[in-house]
């Protein structure tokens, strides 16, 4: 019998997972480990960090140094780890609540610093582990326990936020596009900078059941009907994009990375320092851009 190449990465004594049947977390875990395996990254040098929610449980099933932290703070913990030891590959698993609500500050500030952390955000469109309340990415009109008359709030486009804040690499896929997802993860793992991959994922137990999509298949069909590629979405008006799920790579660019710039700062402080000729320090241009 052929053994899956990712099996060696699992804490088998902890299986089965707590994930519900039809949940997308297994696919995301699989895609992440496949990307790591294909790139042959030393698993001893990977640290996985998570927050609270269903996605927060992923690192606990993987044989790797891992932290299951507090709600919303995973990226802040990861920032400390990466800065203290830049040799480590730091991968963060978060959810839409972690990233879009309680921890949104850490998310956009880590993107602003462009620190070399890979964030995989599992967007299952609701707070699922707490029983199904609306989140900052719940579609308008959706039924949840805290929107029993339909969700009236607008939603965050987490990818657009990451792009605006200054991330090096940003992509969104649904669990339907597994190979695209693996490729994006490989790109992110090879890239030096803040990388954000949002994976829109089915939650049949909470989001689906209450919105007449009681199976994972129905939710995935719902995604499929609404998907539009980033390049096809370009030039379309807000009105034309209403109800669409934009997937693909939002940005893939080379920008200075924070831990590398910090190492330069160390050298500068230790007197490899030229007197500035213009305002600001000579080694960094005084820059203002709004």
């Amino acid at each position: 019998m052929k053994v899956s190449p990712i099996r060696k990465y699992l804490r088998e004594e902890r299986l089965p997972t707590i994930f519900c049947p039809g949940c997308g977390l297994g696919i995301i875990m699989n895609a992440t480990l496949t990307a790591i395996d294909q790139l042959k990254i030393d698993i001893n040098k990977i640290v996985m960090v998570s927050g609270i929610g269903c996605s927060g449980r992923i690192p606990g099933y993987i044989k790797v140094d891992s932290l299951h932290t507090t709600h919303g703070r995973a990226i802040a913990y990861a920032t400390g780890i990466k800065l203290a030891n830049p040799e480590l590959n730091v991968i963060v698993f978060t959810g839409d609540g972690d990233t879009g609500a309680i921890g949104i500050g850490h998310f956009i500030h880590a993107a602003r610093r462009n620190i070399d952390i890979k964030v995989i955000c599992v967007n299952n469109l609701n707070y699922a582990l707490t029983g199904g309340q609306f989140s900052p990415t719940t579609p308008k009109g959706a039924w949840t326990y805290t929107s029993p008359y339909g969700n009236i709030e607008g939603f965050f486009d987490l990818c657009e936020l990451a792009v605006a804040a200054g991330a090096s690499y940003v992509a969104r896929w649904t669990v339907r596009e597994v190979y695209n997802l693996i490729n994006s993860m490989k790109k992110a793992l090879k890239k030096k900078g803040f990388c954000f991959i949002e994976v829109v994922s089915p939650c049949p137990t909470n989001f689906g059941r209450r919105n007449k999509m009681e199976t994972s298949q129905k939710i995935i069909n719902f995604f499929k009907e609404r998907e539009i590629k980033v390049k096809d979405a370009k030039g379309l008006s807000r009105e034309e994009l209403r109800g669409k799920l934009i997937i693909g790579e939002f940005v893939d660019r080379e920008l200075p990375e924070f831990t590398e710039t910090y190492n330069e700062l160390i050298l500068v402080s230790q007197k490899k320092f030229k007197e500035p000729e213009k305002p600001g320090l000579a080694w960094i241009e005084l820059e203002i851009r709004y």
Binding site: R14, N44, H68, L88
Partner: protein, 381 residues
């Protein structure tokens, strides 16, 4: 003293904390600006790069403590500094550091509260927050310096205790000490005892990350060394795996509290003067104790048999010591800049064995020896 190296400097309390931290081996600082602690952060921003350390200004205090805990897990000694409002924001993650047993030092330069309160003036009102600010059970270590020299010395001690007991340690300074300038002897690195956390002595496949010997403090592996540790704020077993088993939870909580409670005598320190013949003892701590000691000396000159006890370790509370000194006195006067926090602990320790008096001063102005002397005379009349 004459043989010792080191250097004499003239520093404010906030800078002395930085000197102490760097001497103790701190190489990571994450913070967020807040009065009256900001000089600690400013000084760290200038000093750490010079020695290859990391300074990062985070987006808030939740991020600051989280980054410091994350850094500590990579084997680096890490610290953050803040004041009341920021200290409140840190509490949830202090709880995680207690639960995951991560050494980290948190300086709380106390100012008047609640809320924004008195940002530029001192208080001693975070005594209970230091101990009970995080939700759930658990123990904490908190030290209260009374001089600029002690800001330095106790910061070194804080790092050592954090490493030894794998726990967050809080330095409770205040707005008076923060900006008070005094002559300080900065010790030579060779003079200082530095404690490092215990490391695993077995290979990864045999290592149980939360199994402790009789010290109750498990050895700590460093991230990236192949040990593949899972840290979680959830109740966890000796492997670090989440479990809600009641017996396991009880065992975990009992161990992480006992590792500190069982060592109160080893951890706690205090400063006692004129106790032998005392009929009344003055109990104080931190910057308040400066005026209390002077008042005590003045009172003795006037023939009042008054003793002085200054708590250096606030948490764990030295209940046995308080019980012992109360055996021969009939009166105790607790003095603090709050509406009564250590007062409760003293009451609990002493019960009815002595009459307990309380004198507080709110508003940020320090006690004066004169007003304390008046209290002493009023009580002894």
């Amino acid at each position: 003293m004459t043989n010792r190296k080191g250097k004499i400097d003239f520093l404010q309390g906030n800078d002395a904390i930085v000197e102490g931290a760097i001497l103790a081996g701190c190489r990571f600082f994450a913070g967020y600006p807040i009065t009256p602690s900001s000089e600690i952060m400013e000084s760290m921003a200038a000093r750490l790069p010079l020695i290859g350390g990391v300074f990062v200004q985070m987006e808030d205090e939740l991020g600051s403590i989280a980054a410091a805990i994350g850094a500590s897990l990579t084997g680096v000694k890490a610290m953050t500094a803040t004041s009341g409002p920021g200290f409140s924001l840190m509490q949830e993650n202090i709880g995680l550091a207690i639960m995951c047993e991560v050494p980290v030092v948190i300086v709380n330069v106390m100012r008047g509260g609640p809320s924004t309160g008195l940002p530029t003036k001192a208080s001693q009102a975070d005594i209970m927050q230091a101990r009970w600010g995080h939700h759930g059970d658990g123990e904490i270590i908190a030290l209260a310096p009374w001089s600029v020299q002690e800001c330095l010395d106790l910061t070194i001690k804080a790092f050592n205790l954090a490493e030894e007991y794998r726990t967050p340690v809080i330095v409770l300074s205040d707005a008076i000490l923060a900006h008070l300038r005094e002559v300080v002897r900065v010790p030579d690195p060779e003079e200082i005892v530095i404690v490092e956390r215990k490391r695993p002595e077995v290979p990864p496949e045999e290592f149980l990350p939360f199994k402790a010997n009789e010290s109750l403090v498990p050895p700590m592996a460093t991230l990236g060394k192949g040990y593949k540790i899972h840290y979680t704020g959830l109740s966890h077993d000796e492997r670090g795996y989440p479990t809600d088993d009641p017996e396991n939870y009880k065992k975990l909580i009992e161990r992480i509290t006992a590792k500190i409670r069982n060592n109160v005598e080893k951890i706690a320190s205090w400063d006692m003067k004129y106790i032998e013949d005392a009929e009344m003892i003055l109990i104080s701590y931190g910057s308040s104790a400066r005026a209390v000691l002077q008042a005590c000396i003045n009172a003795r000159k006037q023939g009042h048999k008054v003793g002085f006890l200054r708590l250096i370790t606030i948490w764990p509370f030295t209940e046995e010591l308080i019980k012992k000194i109360s055996e021969n006195v009939s009166k105790i006067l607790v003095l603090e800049q709050n509406t009564g926090q250590v007062l409760h602990l003293v009451k609990e320790a002493i019960g009815n064995r002595a009459k307990i008096y309380f004198y507080s001063k709110l508003g940020g102005e320090p006690f004066t020896p004169h007003e304390i002397l008046e209290q002493i005379r009023r009580i002894l009349k």
